[in-house]
């Protein structure tokens, strides 16, 4: 019988995908959120982790941007 799982479909560019994969690896076993790694730019993850991923990404972006010491 076809098995259907509810979740969140993520599509992004390859560097961001790698970022999400190692974010997932750094989480403790119980909170691993990636259900399937569909291909190098698409994931299927738990439905409730959208906010957490977005905040991790924006934090990652802030680390990378240089703030001119005003």
């Amino acid at each position: 019988m076809v098995n259907a799982t509810k979740g969140l479909f993520i599509s992004c560019d390859i560097p961001m995908a790698q970022f999400i994969i190692n974010l997932n690896a750094s989480m403790p076993a119980s909170q691993k959120f990636i259900i399937h790694v569909l291909d190098s730019t698409h994931f299927f993850v738990q439905p409730d982790v959208a906010g957490m991923i977005r905040s991790a990404i924006s934090e990652f972006r802030d680390q990378n941007s240089y703030e001119k010491p005003s």
């Binding site: 098995n3 259907a4 799982t5 969140l8 479909f9 992004c12 259900i35 399937h36 977005r54």
Partner: protein, 450 residues
């Protein structure tokens, strides 16, 4: 100037949405026919002129022959527009449809073409209206009125004198534009920001459309208001027209129009009169998107600095939306486009495209000649920062796998594609991801032909 077209088009949609008898009453005025004719797409204009002196209905087949093959899409658009505005009446014979021009529209347009536009009222003799304001004064007056109305609209504290619109009226205008949470200061909604970035004519049409749809509730006949407005746009700027030629509905409207800056009211000893400003006469022009362009004021440099040669507070407010205004001189606003300023613009729902079109359309004439008006590296960087914000797209979905056989998988994926819910599929592992919305349909489909 796409947004003018959209707004003006909705104005035309509003006219089209009027009931038939109201529309016929509207077409009794020659100027309305001319304004409607001008708002039609070019092909529709030609059809109207061609059928002007044909009294017998024309079958749609012979109408089709006027156009060559690859013009048929434009032909269809033109015909639909004409029917929508009831300029063309559809006569359904037994076997096929035929079209005929709306008779009142036809007679009035004929009269208009034969002896030209005759205004219903004469400009007042100059001895009564002593000294009329010059055109420049009129422009300055119109601009000032409009700006202070706008400032009050977005209820920023900077408007010096408040317009005479009642606060309820203002709330009606602000309906789509402001989000008023209880104790918070009212903040602009997404469409509020887009409204601010629009061209003056587009904003004017938006406000008039709200004004007219609101006047419907107070029992004022919409058709009269529209007729009076379009007729106003055919008057000559700077001429004085006496008030007692107006009906009292129109007189009430004139006061509101004076607040918007469309007309200037003046009180003589015995008589009072109104003078249409450029804003009024541009109304019918901006119906078609070839409206005249006003003076640009923004200069953007390759080092992301922004110099706006304008003293208006409104411009300052708009620039503050997406740039950090560093200092304001009497006739110059200096700002810098930074990542932070752009990020909070993007959060407010403004897109990079809107910012760029605003900068291009208001480019200072000195900068406007050389293409690109806004340096390429600035526009590229703005677009880059926008894509940087949403590098990841997340859509709620369902994943299906362990399909019993290949053809069940194929059938399911075709079904999903037909309902355009298919996000991703992998034929080898027979696994696919479908949007959440069509999950129910998918389930019946799968249960159906298991």
């Amino acid at each position: 100037m796409p947004q003018v077209k959209i707004i003006a088009k909705n104005f035309m949609d509003m006219v089209a949405s009027l009931p038939a008898i109201k529309l016929d009453m509207l077409y009794r005025n020659q100027f309305i026919c001319e304004a409607i004719l001008r708002s039609l797409p070019p092909l529709a204009k030609k059809y109207v002129l061609q059928m002007l002196y044909i009294d017998v209905p024309i079958t749609s087949k012979s109408l089709q022959e006027w156009v060559i093959a690859d013009g048929s899409s434009k032909h269809k658009v033109a015909i639909d527009r004409l029917i929508q505005l009831r300029v063309l009446e559809v006569i359904d014979r037994k076997k096929e449809t035929a079209y005929k021009l709306n008779s009142t529209f036809q007679t009035n347009l004929r009269k208009h073409l034969i002896n030209g536009g005759i205004l219903p009222r004469e400009p007042m003799p100059s001895n009564v209206t002593a000294r009329l304001p010059t055109l420049e004064e009129l422009d300055a007056y119109a601009h000032g009125q409009w700006e202070c109305f706008l400032l009050q609209l977005i209820s920023s504290g900077q408007a010096e004198r408040s317009t005479s619109f009642s606060s309820s009226m203002m709330r009606i205008f602000q309906r789509g534009l402001l989000r008023q949470r209880e104790k918070e200061v009212p903040r602009l909604t997404e469409s509020g920001f887009q409204f601010l970035l629009m061209d003056t004519n587009a904003q004017l049409w938006y406000v008039i459309r709200e004004y007219i749809s609101n006047s419907e509730e107070q029992g004022v006949d919409q058709a009269d208001l529209i007729a009076f407005l379009l007729e106003l746009s055919f008057h000559t700027t700077g001429e004085a027209y006496s008030l007692n030629t107006l009906t009292d509905d129109q007189r009430a409207m004139i006061k509101d129009l004076a607040d918007l800056g469309l007309v200037k009211l003046q009180q003589g000893r015995k008589e009072s009169w109104f003078i249409p400003t450029k804003l009024a006469t541009n109304l019918s022009v901006s119906l078609t998107d070839s409206s005249l362009r006003k003076q640009g004021f923004v200069v953007v440099e390759t080092n992301f600095r922004l110099y706006a040669y304008s003293s208006s507070k409104l411009h300052c407010e708009i620039l503050r939306l997406f740039s950090r205004v560093e200092y304001q001189l009497p006739n110059l606003i200096v700002g810098a486009i930074t990542k932070e300023s752009l990020y909070n613009a993007f959060e407010n729902g403004i897109t990079a495209e809107q910012i760029i079109t605003f900068l291009q359309q208001n480019a200072h004439p000195r900068v406007a000649e050389k293409t690109p008006a806004v340096p390429e590296n600035v526009t590229d960087q703005i677009r880059l920062w926008e894509t940087d914000l949403n590098r990841v797209e997340m859509t709620p979905a369902h994943c299906y796998d362990e399909f019993p056989s290949r053809d069940v998988f194929e059938a399911a994926s075709d079904f999903a594609r037909v309902h355009c819910g298919l996000l991703w599929e992998d034929p080898k592992k027979m696994r696919m991801v479908v949007k959440a919305e069509i999950h129910m349909l998918m389930r019946e489909h799968l249960r159906g032909n298991k």
